[in-house]
Each structure stands twice: as C-alpha cells, then as structure tokens.
Amino acid sequence: MNELELRLEELGREVAFPPTPDLAPAVLERTYRKRVAWGRASVAVALAVVALAAAFSVPQARTAILDFFHLGGATVVRVDTLPQTTERSHAAGLGFPVTLQEAQRRTRVRLVLPPGERPSRAYVLGDALVTVVLKAYGKAVLLSEFGSFGPGSLQKLVAQEADVETTRVNGGEALWIAGPHAFEYFGRNGFHQAPVREQGNVLLWLHGDQTLRLEGPLTKAQALELARRTR
C-alpha cells in the first residue's frame, strides 16, 4: 500500500459519520410481521381442513359453560369441551418483538420482573399485553402483563379435567390452573387473538392495577415463589 492509500485509510478513521441508529428492533418487527403473515395463512388453511374433517365426523359440537372465575382483566371459563384450537409453542403467537422500553411505551404497562431478570426483548400482542421469556428452575417460562381495563380482556377456557384453584400472591388474589386449557385475548381497539391451546400450567395474579400471568412447566410452589419475587 503506498503513502496516499495509507493517508486515505487514516482519513477514513477521522470522517464524522453520523451515529449508527439501532436498526435491529425495526428490522425484527418487519421480519416478524412477514413471518406471521405467512404463518397465519398456513394456519388458516390447516384450520379449514380440520374444521371440514370435524364437521363430517362429529354430529354436533358441544361446549357448555360450567363455571366462571374473574381476576383483574382475566376471566377463566370452565367448559365441557375445549374449542378447536391451534397448539402454541413458546416462540410463536406472542406478538412482535421490541425492546422492553418500547413495549412499555406502546402498551402503557409498567413491566415488573423478578430481581436480576432483564430480558433483551419483550413481545407485544395487540396494544396492551406484553410478554417476556424468562428462565426459571432451568425451564423457559412466559410472563405476560397487561392493564386490567375490564374483565374478559384475557380469557382462559379450561377443560373439565383441569384444576382451577384460588390462591394468594403477596396478599392478593391469584388463580392457579393446571391441566388442558386455551388462551384467548381481546385487546383494546377491537384486537382479537383466536384461542390457542397452551402447554404448561398457569398462575394468574394481580399487581397493582395490572394482571400478571405466568405460564410454563412449573409446579404450583415454583410458580408462587417466582410470582412473589416479581414486584
């Protein structure tokens, strides 16, 4: 490399480039939206096939409501038959990923987390429900938080054989659900996520004017311990 080339390289280190903006949140959101669009299309086709098959094989659909439980913005409904649902993995159907700060700005939810937890991103569903993925007891669990803007914004449909128990977290009411159930969400401004079948147990509890939900393969004692530390 000759002297002029060396001077040009040195010049490159001294050019005043504007600071690089953090492109990742916007790129991820656009990437995620595209994937969801394709994912929804394929789920819609799959559901149509399942619905047709069910129509030919089952003479009459039965879904009687057996019991109700209310807690903040959540309603738990016990039914004799769970509706046809898609099964959700931990990674899918949570909403689109943004930073924690951006999630709080969009939803007006003030996120509370267990001490020492600072996930790099949160998922926003609709305009009011935020979910983060945590590791607890060596397992991945989901912590969702939303403002209690009216009962029924989050609906749990639980099967007859599922256990629903009232309990307490930090002195406040809580519900523990163990067994087959589905999750349905109605956001502000008409947003609706159709029921998805969930794996794992769920603890619902109140924290101020927010409703919190912990979902994962935890025992009741583990979930309660984690909930007590989330403040």
Binding site: L11, T20, L23
Partner: protein
C-alpha cells in the same frame, strides 16, 4: 462494532431456519458497517437508515438464495448498497463528508505535535477529503468503500455492484487524479 462473530456459519443456519435471536445477532453485528456504507452512497443519514433497514429485511427474505459457506458480509453489503444506490438516484443533493472535531487527537504513545504541525496535518486532511469529494461519483464511491470504510476489494465490488476488475481500474484512475490534485495544491 464487532467485526465477525466466531461462529457465523452457525448463526446463519439458525437464522435461515427462523431463529430470530440469531437474526438479531447478525443484524447487530453488521448494522454499523451497513449504515456507514449506505451513508457514503446516499449522502444523508435518513436515507441511509432506510436503505440499511430495507436491505436487512430483503436479505432475510432472500436467505434461501444465500450460498452455504459463502461470506455473509459482502452478501449483506451488496443488498444494502443496492438499496442505497436506488435511493441516491431518486434523491437530490448529497451532503458533503466532514471530519470529526477530534480528528487531531493524539493517540496513546504518539509524540505530542506542535500546534503548527497539528494545524498543518488538519489542513492536509481537509484538502484530501475535499479532493475525494471532487472525484467523479464512480471513482469517489470506490475510494470511499475501499479506503474510508476499509472494505476489501471483493466487498467494494459487491457494494458497488460491479466486477472486481472494474473496482481496480476505478481506484487506479481515482488515485492518479488525487495525486495530481494534491500536487497542484502543494500538499
């Protein structure tokens, strides 16, 4: 900015199979160079940000066409630079490059220059930058990518969308022209 992660091939494979964490790592690793490349080609920060963002989204959708074992950086730069060049064609005037205010700072271990020497060095840098900016666009872009950004010859060719031989000839003409300009100015 991190130059290249240790296991880039593994990250690429994970991103191709839909792992958003892997894709985020790739974006964060390359966003600095992608943005600066777009900035040099578009001439303003807003267009550069849009071009880099669109480039990454297009790259994700095009992952199926990325050849296994190939280097990721030139491939990403090609896509981002293409977005940047398209914006420059439709945009107006380009902002001129400027030097950092702290350009004359002394690095650890360097002898402290006299005020006169520092002034002279600053003037020489300004003159060199002005000479680069005065080059025809194709030569200016080649110099900017190859030397100001420190891209390899292959990466410069990818960013400019031309063959490696074309980059060489543009650089050769540009360097000759710069020497002439600097000699005329007594630098």
């Amino acid at each position: 900015m991190v130059d290249r992660p240790l296991d880039e091939a593994g990250l690429v494979e994970r991103a191709r199979s839909g792992d958003l964490d892997a894709w985020e790592t790739i974006v964060r690793t390359h966003q600095g160079l992608a943005f600066r490349t777009a900035y040099l080609l578009t001439g303003n920060a807003a267009d550069a940000e849009e071009a880099a963002q669109d480039g990454f989204v297009k790259a994700y959708r095009a992952f199926g066409r990325f050849r296994r074992g190939a280097e990721l950086r030139p491939w990403l730069l090609r896509i981002v630079a293409n977005e940047a060049r398209n914006r420059r064609r439709s945009a107006g005037r380009r902002e001129r490059l400027a030097l950092r205010a702290s350009a004359a700072e002394v690095r650890p271990g360097d002898a402290v220059p006299s005020p006169e020497a520092a002034l002279l060095a600053g003037e020489q840098r300004e003159r060199l930058l002005a000479a680069v900016e005065a080059l025809p666009d194709d030569q200016r872009d080649a110099i900017a990518c190859r030397y100001l950004l420190g891209l390899t010859g292959a990466e410069t060719a990818a960013a400019l969308g031309v063959r490696a031989g074309t980059v060489k000839s543009r650089l050769s003409r540009a360097l000759a022209r710069l020497r002439e300009t600097l000699e005329e100015g007594g630098a």
